[in-house]
Amino acid sequence: MIEIQNLKKSFGDLQVLKGLNVTIPKGQATGIVGPNGAGKTTLIKTILGLVKPDSGILEVNGTRLNGDWLYRRDIGYMPQVARYPENMRVYELLNFIKGLRDQDAVYEHELIEQFNLQSELEKPLRTLSGGNRQKVGAILAMMFNPDILFFDEPTAGLDPRSSHKFKLRVKKEKEAGKTIFITSHIMSELEQLVDHVIFILDGNIRYYGSMSQLLELSQEERLEAAIARLMDEPIERTGSVSKQSEMKSTPITLEIA
């Protein structure tokens, strides 16, 4: 479970997160969407510990983040851009990360097999195709079987077959009760993988709720269209409140939709 209260972050004069409140229960698969510069990346980086918030409360599985690092044992992160030391071989990278984490890499072999990387293990990372590097990133994220998974544009460099395999894997993780976050520009992909959506605009959460509800409220068939409408609609017109199910969310979110 992840709980965020009034999270604020500025870079210089630029206020990137303007007081976010959100609670994500365990086992939920959440898509994070929003235009570039809205604060998506900052939000994820804050949860991952890469960015330190200016104020607000952030709890991961009950641990209040305060310069502590042990909570990251429960987190797996697959970065968007997979760049690794050029001369390191794939198995060395895996070993390196294993050495950093005092945890069993329970799914290492399973994932390697699943993503067909056996033949690449001995190769230096610089010789790997972009797709294969993405897969390495996915393995790194999932092999320790963490409770919480972050995937940042996970399928961007993958061919359709690998992309399909990746999605199957994510679904499996979801079934296993993992809390999953995915950012993606491909809305159809999110439709397949997540059941909840956080839509961030201009440092605030504009919508947080289940996907079905979002579609229903926006009277759209597809997520893409729903999001597009959310972006287009000026705030004044979004008066017609709705729901806000069991989840906490910001007042602004309540206004929306």
Partner: protein, 279 residues
Amino acid sequence: MRKHYSPAWRKELDYIMKLLTHIIKTEWKSLLRGKWVIGYTIIFILLTDSLLRFGGGGSEALLSLSNVMLLFIPLVGMIYGILYIYQSREFVELLLTQPIDRKVLYWGLFLGISTPLMAAFIIGSMLPLAWHGILAADSTSSLLVLGLGGMLTLIFVSLGFVFGLMFYDDRIKGFGFTIVVWLFLAILYDGLVLLIVFVFGDYPLEQFVIVVSTLNPIDLARILIMLEFDISALMGYTGAVFNRFFGQNTGIMTASGMLFLWLAIPTWMGLRIFRKKDF
């Protein structure tokens, strides 16, 4: 039989050391496989060997080597440090999402990349010195030059780290700053000192120039070289403050101490920035 009991801090320390060596080892392996460090080693092998082969004897070669070292190691060290930060951005960020302490990660990365470069210089220069017999004949001078080169490498890689972290998102600025700092420390600084000496020539300046020189790590290394190779000239100088500083071990102690301070401060600054930074 006595039961072995290891206290918590001991376990913690063991764990940190294990992590550190793990990171350092991995960096070493990866850097050694890159041509960069090997090339750097070969450059120093060729340089030192040709200095010894064509230049004549030990002191001549060692002084030429130290001239090269005083000029270029700071530049190479800084560029190397800042390049590492820029090139490994995504990787470092990935590492930061792992459950380890930033402090440990910082030391691991810094030592992991600075020590190979240091070793490259030391080994590259030492081999020719060894096979030409200089290492045995002029061992003090040789070890001094090698040690100072190693020290300067560490200092300037750490400065490169600091600049890389300071100008994390602006590479042009980062490199520009590095070049300016290098020009300033390696050349202009001494020009300014000379200017001040001439402008304020009527005042007693010995203490002043000593203090000012210890503020520049390149000058510190140069003074230590000077104490080794030019002590006979320094002894010909009659100024009391200089004589005290150079004549006894004061000079060596002060300069070495300041050099260590020059290593401690940038590494500490780097650590501070690294721990607080938003990546």
